[in-house]
Symmetry: C2
Subunit: 110 residues, 2 copies
C-alpha cells in the first residue's frame, strides 16, 4: 500500500491509484476500526496493547484481532510483540497522505 496521489479535486485520478485509495478508505469504513484507530492514536505514548483495546468493545478478542489486521494490512498501523503483549501504533504518514487526497484546492469558481 503506497498512497501517492494528489488531491482528488486536482485532476481525474488514475484507475490504479483510485483502487489504492479506495482500499485505504475501506479500512476506515467500519465504526469499530475507526474507534480502534482513534484509541491507538490517542493513547499516551502513541501505543496501545490489545488487551486494553478489546476491553473497550462489546466484541470478542478474535473480532478485534481481525479488525486490527485489516488496519495493519492497509498500512495504517504497525505492531510489535513485547513479551506476552502485542503493542500497536499508528503510522502518521499514512493518515497524512489520505488527508491530503481529500484536500480541496483553492476554488476557481468565478
Amino acid at each position: 500500500m503506497d498512497i501517492c496521489c494528489s488531491p482528488l479535486a486536482a485532476a481525474p485520478i488514475d484507475v490504479d491509484q483510485a483502487a489504492e485509495v479506495a482500499t485505504a478508505f475501506k479500512a476506515l469504513s467500519d465504526p469499530v476500526r475507526v474507534r480502534l484507530l482513534s484509541l491507538i492514536a490517542s493513547h499516551p505514548g502513541g501505543e496501545a496493547y490489545v488487551n486494553n483495546l478489546i476491553a473497550a468493545f462489546d466484541l470478542t478478542g478474535p473480532t478485534i484481532s481481525h479488525h486490527l489486521r485489516v488496519l495493519r494490512q492497509a498500512g495504517l498501523i504497525g505492531c510489535e510483540r513485547r513479551g506476552t503483549w502485542v503493542f500497536y501504533w499508528v503510522v502518521p504518514a499514512a493518515l497524512e497522505r489520505l488527508s491530503e487526497v481529500l484536500t480541496v484546492p483553492a476554488k476557481t469558481t468565478p
Copy 2:
C-alpha cells in the same frame, strides 16, 4: 450526515461520531466512487453531468446512478436537474471535514 469530529488522534472518538465517520469513509471505499468524485471535482467549473460520467466507465448507467446516490447520501456531492440533464458537483466542506479527521496533531512522543 454531519461530520463534526476533531482529529482521530486527538482523543478517543465518540461511538456515534465513529459511526458517522465510518459511514462517510464507506462512501469512499469503492474505486468507482473515488473516480466519480475525482471526475466531478476536477471537471471544469466543478460540475459534471451524468452522461459524461457514465462514458468514463465500463459500467451500465444504473450502476453509476447507484454509486452517485451513495455519494450523495453521504453528503459528498450534490445534484440538480437542468432540463434533460442532471448535473453533479462536490461539497468541498464535506471533504475538508473528513480531511481534518485524518489530521495527525503535533507529535508529543518524548
